[in-house]
Amino acid sequence: MNLIKIFLAIPVLVIILAPFLKVKGNGRIVFLAVVLNALLSGYFALQALSGQLLEFNFAGSLATGMVNLRIDALSGWFILIINFIFITGGFYGLFYMKSYEEQKNNLRLHGVAFLLIHTALLSLCAIQNSIIFLVVWEIMALSAFLAVTFEHEKMATIKAGLNYLIQSHFSILFLMIGFIWVAFKTGSYDFNAITAYSTANPGGIALVLFVVFFIGYSIKAGFVPFHTWLPYAHPAAPSHISGIMSGVMIKIGIFGILRMITLIKVDYYTVGLIILTFSVISGLYGVMLAIMQHNLKKLLAYHSIENIGIIGMGIGIGCIGLGNGNYMLASLGFAGGLLHTWNHALFKSLLFFTAGNVYQATHTLHIEHLGGLIKKMPQTAFLFLIAAIAISGIPPFNGFISEFIIYSGFYNWMQGSMLGPLMAIVFSVLALVLIGGLALLCFTKAFGIVFLGQARHHFHHEVKEVSTFQLLPLYLIAFFIVFIGVFPQFFLNALSKPVQLFTGIPSQPVIPFQEQIGGILLPVTVGTWIFIGIVAVTYFVRKLAMRNRKVAIGSTWGCAYIAPNQKQQYTAGSFVRSYSKLFKLFLSSSKSEEEVQGIFPSGGTYETHIYDHLEKYLIDNPIAAYKSLLGRFSFLQNGRLQFYILYGIVFIVSVICVPLFYDQIVLFIEFIKQI
């Protein structure tokens, strides 16, 4: 109880202090506060993960009613993720923001926003009162907006931020409708009311209720087609913020969906299929567009969509497992989903942070302008490489582990299911494999073009590695990536309780969770160890063999062309050209080309812009129509007194007359209908 009060007191204190502190001090204080809050909440989280349910009740106010905080294993799991990413991200941010030190007030605001996001996210994991939940939800959204629009003198940034703000407002609208619905029927704002209501009327109503919430949360999580804000918000934000957004904030959407699964008693099989469908689409669509992006951060943003898809697949099959009463399948699904949440948080934040390093060094994120950075900033390159392999779901890193669990979930589901489900399985597996392959294509491109080869563009400033302190948190993350990849068993204990929240303790005594997943994972990890061994041996042998061989350094074999220069390197565009030709159907890209011509060509340009089909049809066009509709009515306030009087007359007369003629009008309509 008191700890909670302290937890809330810390940010308040900092916010009050913020205006009076020096910028540096402010940054440090904020980081300190984040760490303190992380410790406090982490303490609760660990308790929760050890299986006990923490519950705190506050009196609340007349507007809200009783406010309950419940921290169960699920909350604990997410709290841990949030804290880890925020500590690393905050530490990284301290150094990343050094270059903006002259914008004092701006940094203060940023720090406050940062702290607010952290507090809000943590609280969201615990709050059980819908009004307070909505309030905190929007606090998070707003402070995230402020954090995103740090470089707010650019109109583009503001636009991106607004786009994000409005879409998250839509999410809050859906949530609000859901909560209002429940409150109206049950008269209570507590989350338990949702369970009560859904159990009271199962079937269609519960399903619709779930769908309403699902849409609300998946806007935040970035499921296709609710994803359109991500590709704008992430590039606009400073890197540590994009890392946090992509690592944690979109996960709160996942958290919400999971929470609703625990709360709403509904036909889980259908729900599972719904989630699975959305996830498959998101996964494929995300990665397909990611490949085409030439802005590094935008590319990563689309990959977040893809990974949300993978997480969703896990959750989906988990739900299906619940629906079928297949304990094994359920635990596989949820375990995969939850673990991948962790993993994605890790490697995606690492990717964004390294992208931040690149941006700091070169002041650009357009990958066609980059290249050869591995020489200038080898550590960043190394870290990026690790993260890239991990996100492609390749052993020996963590991405593979969670994807492996999900795969085994699918193959487990396959046994004894009929045609319909089998179709779902086949296409999901197909999707998952394709996602893996496309991710590989995408990240070989990203890594290859950005870090390898020669510099494609001459920078006037010196390009150098960032400070060691700034790299520290990155190494920490990288360590965890490898650690989970090689010794996933250590995480199963932590994972068991959250998963059992969904599956429940099975009635008939089957082998407990740890052994199950452990039993599945152990050989894989053994394989990983062996593999590492083989690599080591081969490398050693190679070293031995190379000991007294002569090593010459020459220029790259240009196929007999003796004067190659960096302009002749393979570009990102050309790397994915054949791909883009194949997938033309799904991708719409606009070229602006200026051919080289003449005997002494002056030089030509060629650039492509990739559009998001769904965004065009789901967001842009409707909004345009909406605006034009509104525009038609702008004659009302036309500055002429006569008209103003006229409105009054029209109103009165119509209110008087319409009822008089109402019956006739109805008759007329009937008459028209009959014709």
Binding site: I374, K375, P378, L385, I389, S392, G393, I394, P395, F404, Y407, S408, Y411, M414, Q415, M418, L419, G420, L422, V426, L430, L434, G437, L440, F443, T444, F447, G448, I449, L452, G453, I520, P523, V524, G527, F531, I534, T538, R542, A545, M546, R549, K550, V551, A552, I553, G554, S555, T556, W557, G558, C559, Q568, Y570, F575, V576, R577, S578, Y579, K581
Partner: protein
């Protein structure tokens, strides 16, 4: 354990046979069967030349590529006898380990900053991406058919009964063979003997490798061939005892090798732009297999 030895042995002559067959077909005598091994041995003794654009990636990549293939070998069983390691879903591990090798070979190609190797890299990435679904669905349908999810159990439980299963076996062989072709970048996807870098896939990626590294890569290539050969063999020998199955293994491997040789000497490579489509056809075929399995199991409702 057994499988490992067999694959190693097969690897020694597989590529040699191909070359020999090709030269015979083109009316030459051709080199000895073990010529490739000799080449590799020679390479191992040579020094190396690195391009000044390259970085450590270029140097570690061949090692990892090689080890990935070796790792994949350890997973493959032989009939009843397990591989070194065998577990549920090991074929996923198999595919992803190979993917790791691919990842590194691609980025090492990018590392040279050459205007040609990137081309090969992008093709390699694209093709392998398209090849993988076919492999997974094939394995998935085997898993569905047998009810197991590890190579060894699947193959062990696999017995050819009804006519339809013959058809499936043939289709399966075709898919696996084609996947092997793609993985080893042979005809009809890629022509290793072409002399124009623009039309190469795998060869153009390793233009800059030399000496020990090149040796590793080539060895890995030989092993890979034998590896897939072994997989194909496994489709058939599940039920036989060793005294039949081991000879069968070698016969089939030789047949495959000479088959490849013949194809390469009498067929032209596909147009690059057609490759992707062709590879995706494999996925459709494997889907056919899947439905066939459904038919066998009577899962249609």
């Amino acid at each position: 354990m057994l499988s490992l030895f067999l694959i190693l042995i097969a690897a020694t002559f597989f590529t040699g046979i191909i070359i020999r067959v090709k030269s015979v077909a083109s009316g030459r005598k051709g080199p000895g069967i073990f010529q490739p091994l000799k080449d590799v041995a020679r390479l191992f003794k040579k020094g190396v030349v690195y391009s000044e654009t390259t970085s450590f990636v270029f140097q570690v990549a061949p090692t990892i590529y090689f080890s990935s293939v070796v790792m994949a070998m350890l997973v493959v069983p032989f009939g009843q006898s397990k591989g070194i390691i065998s577990f549920n879903g090991d074929f996923i591990f198999f595919a992803y380990v190979l993917a790791l090798g691919k990842f590194f070979s691609i980025i090492s190609a990018m590392d040279t900053g050459s205007s040609f190797e990137g081309m090969g890299a992008s093709r390699e990435a694209l093709y392998s991406m398209f090849a993988e679904p076919a492999f997974f669905i094939l394995m998935g349908s085997l898993a569905l058919l047998t009810g197991y999810t590890s190579f060894q159990e699947m193959f062990a439980a696999l017995h050819i009964g009804s006519y339809i299963s013959y058809a499936l076996a043939i289709l399966g062989t075709f898919v696996l063979m084609m996947v092997a072709m793609i993985e080893n970048s042979r005809m009809p996807i890629d022509d290793p003997k072409t002399h124009l870098e623009l039309t190469m896939v795998h060869e153009v990626m390793i233009l800059d490798n030399s000496g020990f590294d090149l040796g590793l890569i080539l060895t890995a290539g030989y092993l890979k061939f034998a590896l897939y050969g072994a997989l194909v063999v496994n489709l058939f020998i599940g039920v036989f005892q060793y005294k039949y199955s081991i000879p069968m293994f070698f016969i089939i491997q030789i047949v495959l090798a000479s088959g490849v040789g013949l194809i390469e000497s009498f067929m032209a490579r596909f147009r690059m732009s057609h490759n992707a489509q062709f590879i995706f056809v494999l996925t459709s075929v494997s889907l056919l297999i899947f439905f066939g399995v459904l038919l066998i199991l009577g899962r249609f409702v």
